[in-house]
Symmetry: C2
């Protein structure tokens, strides 16, 4: 099939059920009718997907690749999700494990507008992994968060993002917080000449997010954080269109509520929908990813694709300063390391700990450049 | 704790892990920091949630109820999801099974603007269950879909909705389809004097959806279909605010509600976010819900709540004309029965099958009114 969107599902079913379940999936995800009710020849030929492959899954069950006609998606960012995993998401034994889009869909979604290289151009740090940390916890005042922001900036962090849990809280209202944190970063930029980014968190309804994006832009902000599954993945595509030079960092919160493999969702889809950087839990942290999943995920973010910039990988989720060398060895230097709690536990010694983080990344990147382990 | 949002999780963990996992959950979902890094007294007292209950779960593991300070949600529709299930959604052994909001959150979200009663006022059908079917499959032309719409309207269906897979397809563009289908319904309304609703499907980015809602309103449309998980649940809250007399039918596509219990997501949350009717898979159809879940779900949609209208339950997902009596016995008459495939398989006999459906609902509702089984 030409112009087919390919989706691979894991079906945890017995061999005797397989044919019937694959047939049901083809109908469920497109015409949503029993086969006997699909009589129109155009619908049968041009809408119903074909099965592009069936294989046993090493974890048990089967991996089934379905080729959907691009026409079924209407090239719509929300309808695409419906075709990939609308009704079938409600079947407990079906998991969406991989997605291959078409050139027209990738062009419609647009992918990252700045991408890994554009984010690097904004953040500096040529030749080494970038450093990133988060302002938290919620409950602190804007002034306290801005003071932390200033310390991280002075300490040499490249990208200082809001925690994804900072909304328009009464304790640190969005506009006040953004104004103070951005000013803190700009002061350090002026003092040191380094490039540093502050990335406020955009969370809310689409209208609130649009208003906040414009506010941040007018304050000079050049990067934002957004959790696409909280706000709606189609909004990520809309934000990418409207970003105009502002880098979008995607956060995985609420992503686990769907049974979609992490590499397909945080890799393939977040990139296609326009994330310039994708934050994901690295193996051995607080979340249960394994190294193979991380390798596939980062492959999805970086794989050369016509017309689609690369997305910067941001391994996170309980990483520590002590793991920097291992992370750089695994991801190379073209990534950004996000460390939060491992800095905050230093308490009064925060500034020293930040320096250790920044130096560890520089050292590990240099070792990596020289081909050392 | 006053003004607490209560979330109940199922933790599929061993007894020896329970305390540590509950403690981790408290921190993960709010401050996102290790306990040692949370030193601010205000944050400890006013942001960290308390544990309101722990019990063994009959399915194994434990049910843990966490009381989150309302402050943590910032009364924000997206941040609320983050507090309920942001990072923890990525833990495969954690499931969100129940949610209790606060009055202020319910007031901010607003709940259904028309509700079950308002939808009934638009659709007619006093004293009996409402009938609903879907226009499909994708791939048909607008003219063909409008012809189907006219047949369903003449046959006596109350609410004729687009299939949730109808987007702005080249084969049946949104504006053309809405114009023709609404005209078909209005013609039958003028002829028969019955009230009938056509509900077009709103799918796309938030901006596209807003434009389409306004187009539909100007064509006289009084109900729309939206799949909140496809477009983003916060957008449902925004649509409800902007609906102004248009009823919102919520569709469960992409709800993937395996790790959020169906009753919590399609019941509690869809209602709070503003669905006037919530479509969900009934037991014994194509999806794996049991009757207890359906009972809890419908309880969430109907339970009296100060300032929150009731949402009309719409059992669906492979229901047949033959099951109408059973459905009305289970849900009573204050529901809408959505039957699609079971009508379409009649092929050339569609009109007769529609009459059977409409009559079965009238008969079952009357029997129910007389207290018959």
């Amino acid at each position: 099939m030409k112009n087919a969107v390919r989706a691979t599902y894991r079906l945890a079913v017995e061999p005797s059920q397989l044919d019937a379940r694959v047939e049901a999936l083809r109908y469920e995800q497109t015409v949503d009718l029993p086969p006997a009710a699909v009589t129109d020849p155009f619908v049968r030929d041009e809408i119903l997907p074909s099965v592009a492959g069936v294989a046993e899954d090493p974890r048990g069950g089967f991996r089934v690749t379905v080729a959907y006609p691009e026409l079924a998606t209407a090239l719509d960012p929300a309808q695409l999700l419906n075709v990939l995993f609308g009704n079938s998401s409600m079947h407990a034994d079906v998991e969406l494990v991989a997605v291959t889009l078409t050139p027209a869909l990738e062009s419609r979604l647009g992918g990252p507008r700045l991408g890994a290289a554009g984010l690097r151009a904004l953040a500096g740090g040529a030749g080494r992994a970038l450093t990133c940390t988060a302002l938290k916890p919620m409950g602190l005042s804007s002034k306290d968060l801005a003071a932390l922001c200033a310390r991280f900036a002075r300490g040499g962090i490249d990208v200082i993002k809001d925690d994804h849990g900072l909304a328009d809280h009464a304790t640190a209202p969005f506009e006040e917080r953004v104004t103070l944190c951005q000013a803190a970063v700009e002061e350090e930029v002026a003092r040191s000449g380094r490039r540093i980014l502050y990335a406020p968190n955009l969370v809310g309804t689409p209208e609130a997010i649009r208003t906040r994006l414009e506010f941040a832009r007018h304050r000079g902000v050049r990067a934002v954080l957004v959790a696409p599954m909280l706000v709606g993945l189609p909004l990520l595509a809309e934000l990418a269109s409207a970003s105009e030079g502002i880098a979008i960092l995607a956060h995985p919160a609420f992503a686990g509520a769907q049974r979609i493999a992490f590499d397909a969702l945080l890799g393939t889809l977040f990139r296609a929908y326009g994330a310039d950087a994708s934050i994901f839990p690295h193996a051995g942290g607080r979340f249960g990813l394994d190294l193979d999943t991380c390798r596939r995920l980062v492959g999805e973010l970086r794989a050369p694709r016509d017309g689609l910039l690369a997305t910067l990988p941001v391994p996170a989720g309980g990483m520590s300063v002590e793991r920097v060398r291992e992370l750089v060895a695994f991801y190379g230097t073209d990534c950004m390391l996000l460390v939060g709690g491992s800095l905050y536990v230093a308490g009064a010694d925060l500034d020293r700990r930040v320096r250790e983080f920044v130096e560890a990344v520089a050292d590990a990147s240099e070792a990596q450049g020289r081909g050392l382990p």
